[in-house]
Symmetry: C3
Subunit: 349 residues, 3 copies
Amino acid sequence: MAPHTLPQRFYTSEDVFQAEIDRFFFSRWVCVGRDEQVAKAGDFFLAEVAGESLIVTRDVAGALRAHYNVCRHRGTRMCAEQSGAFKDGRIRCPYHAWTYALDGALVVAPHMEPDFVRSDYPLHSVAVESWHGHVFVNLSKTPALLDLSLLAFDAWNMGELRMRKRISYDVRANWKLIVANYNECLHCPVLHPALNRLTDYMGADNAPPSTDWIGGTMGFKAGVETMSTDGKRRRAYLPGLSQTQRQQVVYYAILPNLLLSLHPDYMMTHTLWPRAVDHTEVVCELHFHPDETGPIDDAVEFWDLTNREDWGISEQSQQGISSRAYTPGPYSKREELLHAFDKIVESGA
Amino acid sequence: MAPHTLPQRFYTSEDVFQAEIDRFFFSRWVCVGRDEQVAKAGDFFLAEVAGESLIVTRDVAGALRAHYNVCRHRGTRMCAEQSGAFKDGRIRCPYHAWTYALDGALVVAPHMEPDFVRSDYPLHSVAVESWHGHVFVNLSKTPALLDLSLLAFDAWNMGELRMRKRISYDVRANWKLIVANYNECLHCPVLHPALNRLTDYMGADNAPPSTDWIGGTMGFKAGVETMSTDGKRRRAYLPGLSQTQRQQVVYYAILPNLLLSLHPDYMMTHTLWPRAVDHTEVVCELHFHPDETGPIDDAVEFWDLTNREDWGISEQSQQGISSRAYTPGPYSKREELLHAFDKIVESGA
Amino acid sequence: MAPHTLPQRFYTSEDVFQAEIDRFFFSRWVCVGRDEQVAKAGDFFLAEVAGESLIVTRDVAGALRAHYNVCRHRGTRMCAEQSGAFKDGRIRCPYHAWTYALDGALVVAPHMEPDFVRSDYPLHSVAVESWHGHVFVNLSKTPALLDLSLLAFDAWNMGELRMRKRISYDVRANWKLIVANYNECLHCPVLHPALNRLTDYMGADNAPPSTDWIGGTMGFKAGVETMSTDGKRRRAYLPGLSQTQRQQVVYYAILPNLLLSLHPDYMMTHTLWPRAVDHTEVVCELHFHPDETGPIDDAVEFWDLTNREDWGISEQSQQGISSRAYTPGPYSKREELLHAFDKIVESGA
């Protein structure tokens, strides 16, 4: 018998949602941004991981740092700005001026008694690592190593690319429906007329899934060179790509929250931010080689259209699955990555 | 001792509300619209019964059909438009093109394996019937017959009437407070100065209540011919009415959700859509004889004013009943239909 | 070891919040307004105490009265207007015209049966008292006496003052964070540059706290005469103040909800209205001697600015304390009133 979709509770139960947040977002490496957002010491940006506000910054030694945005004095959220640079390399609470170094050490605590020991009150910090320019954090107290070495994406030189467009989408669907939507193109001829002119949905080649990622490659139709409004390529191939890599899109869902889409001439990322069991914020970014400074409308408009088609149908899926009438339905072989993902979700791996 | 109003929990408890939704909206016949909305094969409209989206349509044999708006493949809500006509008589899911006949049979399921049996995956359907042009559905797995034959309303020829005005109201009150408000006119002299000019609230004649409906008749004051801004009648009497029927309004609450008000020259319906324990959407429609094509402002404006007065006081009732200080209060004899309704609600009948 | 702030649950748990509402808002005297709002018999205003709408009025004998805004017939909330005067000294329900005297006695109940006893259905009333012009209610069935006689504020003649400005603020923070913010000025040099130009935060003098209030006095910097945009005083000292009282601000939190700030030339009050565990409405009023009819912008603008600074940081505190990373932090000696308040909260006193 064909494998079937997951039971309803995986898409509607608050309890299942919280358990998934714990397992996937508090215990795994979560992609929160890019190295270039904290290029210099004292630069920072805020990331919100499952309701937790984190300060991601770079210390004076050049190391990435991530701290909970919570003062150790009265618990105040210290930074309200989404990004910026800390003045004088100090993180200062705006309530009573407790002040921390970039590495989280408490350096000033006004009016405390003489027996107060500042080293007892550093910021609460979390693990942070960079992989090819992508910044990941891990909120676990005992984080595993970040190991994506099996993903052989060196040719794209992702660390060199620069973000030129970011669009944030508010999607009324469970985060897993967005992962599922990303991992099959059986829906492309029905839902995506523009995309379907460029790629052959029968030509997708799924890689063997792991517990940390699922994905594969998809080739272009004849005469098409990249994903753009008309299939034409308006900039140089990314340097270092082989002939094969120039003729396909590589798409991987790096669990839980990074959808990485490598095109011949640019990189697209989606990061997923579950806000509720039926609500996910999706941030889509387009990254280009630093030498490419011309217009990027061809890619921006193509993907904005295609993204909106995907979010719309994901929302309709959320609505239908929430019905009393919903029962798990059968997958075809072209949806094998979804079944692999479902097994990861079900197993607690 | 006088009978008293219901305890607070019937108006404020989420648990009681869900139990009522189960008993009244998932187990009884619920009015969802009119035959004329699905005049031809393939016409459809969506109804939302207690959070469930249903597709109401007419099949090629002319029979009414009602299906859950849930694709059997991945659970997608298929129709997003509120009404329309299915192209080629096919219900097609916009995600992966699973396609159903109007009777719910699955006819196309792309890329499934050879051993896939389409007849295993028809749409989930529910019972649907028509009574004098009113379309009712019943979501129970073992629905009782729809039997309103004791309501002798043939003279109004309701099936011939055509809807010309629909107004939807968002009311922050429990659905039963709207039923209660509809079933007594003791409040009319206080709350409805316009209506009170037309009818004598002491002249209402309640019919013996059943478990399926409560209602009665109310006569006009001298010189008044119908419910309109000035009590004047601007169109012919509905054909077939007796002299008595021309001099009164017949008003029945057909439980749980249809308030049916038969006037000498038009029909008004309210359908009630509980959205939460303290929130009900009310859809008011005015239906006229097809020969009447002139202005209908006299009726529309009169009832919009009167409706708003009723929703306002129903909302104030909801607020007061939600107080810790609320205790059941005494009914007068003029509120006997409310007590009958309360007993239906309490008994679980 | 230094005393520490309260555990997270006191700021985030719905259960703790409800228990505090019961203990502080349903069992203590809550300030709801001023005598001048019900100057004459039949004048009324509505107060909302923890979701309960109360009618505060003055009866024909001149006594304050407070009733639940709930008709004894069908439970309707009778008054929708926030303030006004009852016509003919009668409180009349707009639904079926049940009518009450100002003392709550039911005087008209149309169409009830002959055996109906009106005296069985008076309005539900609550205790109400006035202290120096401040009106307090107590919703307990066995209210303690209102006794604030230890607060020796006679010199300010608060009962004579007249409200000239009211601003309502919607603050996304637990009510206790606003009490805490009010009771220390350690944050003043960091958060309030304008205020800090006028007062010396090191010059605050805390009074020994009781279970009913916490507070103290704070002196001005040299050359400053009151709290205003420039520290200048634009009106006469309140009559009766001593030389000492002319050179300080007296600030007391009268628990649970009145923050009383006595300036040399005016009185400021804040009343706190918890709406949810993380949401408080704060009403700020400025009261002046009746002889003072000139502009009051100097005080209004100064406090609006300072208030907004306080609400903003209170909201950031709420956000930070809600983090998984929050742990109680250490108080300095300058935050001793907060620790006293925390002990009242923790002890159930």
